[in-house]
Amino acid sequence: MAGILETPFLWVIATIAIYAVAYWGYGKWIDRNIWRSDAKKTTPAHMYMDGVEYFPVSRYVLWGYQFKSVAALGPILGPFIGITYGWLPALIWIIGGNFFIGWLQDYGSMMLSVRKEGRSFGPITYEFTGAKGRTNLLAFVLFYLIIISAAFIALIAVFWNSFNGTTFVPTIGILVAGLLCGQLLYRVKMNVFAVTGIGLALVVLSLYLGTILPVKLPWGAWNVAVWGGICVLILYLAAILPTPTFIQPTNYLAFYPAYAAIILIIVGALATPFTNVTIQLPAGPFLNDPQGILGPIWPILFVAIACGAISGWHSLVSSSSSSKQLDLETDALPVGGGAMLSEGLLALASLIAYMVLTPLFVFGDGSAANPAHSNIAAWPVGAATLVAPILGIKATTAILTTFFGLVLVIYALTVQALVTRFFRLVAGETWGEGRFRALGNKHVATAVGLGVPWAFAVTGSWWALWLYFGGANQLLAGLAIMLITIHLAKVRARSRYSLVPAIFMVVTTLAALVWQTATFAYSVWAYLQNDKTWIIRNVRPPIQTDPNLLWAAIAINAVFVIIGAVLFAVGLSMAVRLFRSYSKSLAEARTRAPAAADGGTQEK
């Protein structure tokens, strides 16, 4: 039996204990004293019940739905960049970020929407900041979706290109099984349990086929570009076809392996004192990236690990559908806050999967054969290392690494399918009328929403895209917490508990966007000074390795400067509007009779 301090066991127990304090201590206190949730108060689900969008749902069902909607690739891959500064800073951010900010945002967004009659963030932003504020939000979300799509397409393409080519066949297997299940369910009207059984049998079969029929493309450095193209084709179909035909049954089937993997890893982490799986990574170096690529710990760590600590996407989910189905106001804490704290445990499980691997395997040595920050195969290998002893098989068993590799792919693919559909709808809203109405067309919007991210994905480094995605995502979180803070100020509730996190998130993420933009700008400047090392650092092969494609590297760096500058400008403009609105709300609230956070009851 390994020494308990050498294994991740103690950290799992400590994190669970701190999250318990966050929920039953800080969470309950905020719920009772700041928001004053009231089980007797009618929620929008009852007030506007229509059986479609508004209807009360049990807190257990809604917790499951909320968790499934927020937990995806973010908590798995974010820690991969975060551990550059050592596993301890990453762990502290996963614990502290979630304790003080993460759950507060998800829960607050849900409560804000409930108190605003189930309205989502668009109308609430309009109410607090006017028409320009909402347009600003729309522009920000469009850019945000393009960056998410670029990061996810890049990752899916790289995943298919890794793991010895074993994950492509199972992915296609899940998609085909999903299509078949959709037909059996909706056309043949077969029993859902029978359909699930058939679908899962096909998934297992495709996993086995993946290990014996690996798919490797023959185009060398261009492979990722081709994989990216295949991914775009699949996503195009997912965005265009009716949801019951493709996305719904596919996501349903994908749920089973994805959540089985989470359970296995958490059990594997808890069993480490008995399985002798020990921590291999160093706890530091804390302040800087030793390979000099990412930058200083602040602000980079705080945008690298998004979901699991805090994520802006969650605020959209909490205020979009969950708030319309909340049975009781008092359910907001277990559903919104509880789901977020549970996602923190998923991030912890992922972090542990990296912690049990050697530094050389995880970080690379910066050489051409083993470049820095590129071994994204680390997570499946780490997961297999944790799980193999409890299953009694070898960690190198092909079916196990293929399974965890497939889990990575399906987490990215299922979320990206929804993001692409969302982009199409937002594009329709933005360009549906006027001179650019062609861009609102569903085929054109989908093609733009996939084509532009594909171009970014196959040219830029995945970590560069991930940091932009993290910056935009975390900024959205900061803006969401500002909306919550404005509401609290308007109803004269104590707003400092959300104001401080909001300021921290807005300042940190804007700083991260500035850092990233400056890095790309510096790369172009260095090239003009005859230093080519920087310009090729931010792009991926073949552009990185082919001297004839240097012009493409310059162009990509220049485009990334523009993207970063636009994200920063739109985010800053939105932040300024929100802080102005907050200050105005404070002044207005001081002139009115005191009221509680529920907007009506007199304060004691």
């Binding site: 739905y65 668009g122 996501n251």
Partner: protein, 96 residues
Amino acid sequence: MGDPKEAPSEKTRARKVKEGVKGVFYGMAAHGHVTAALRTRMYLEHLFMFITLGDMLGVPVIPPYYSLKILPYAVPNIKSWKQRVFRERDFTDQVF
């Protein structure tokens, strides 16, 4: 007979736990798909109501004779249809 205020029995507690686990599983695996299917049906119903009772909105899509024949079947849905159709909707409502 036991006191109704008595603490829940083991059996009741076990049933609650079972219901909770079932609920979580259903929420994770299927709830999103069920609501998406309901929403798809809602949009189709909007279209149906618009085609059959468009006169109510000043848009006579089909001749009033046929609308009148369908009226008894459509009347029970008019209230909820109006409620849904007139509801403020935003792009941020479309996330899931």
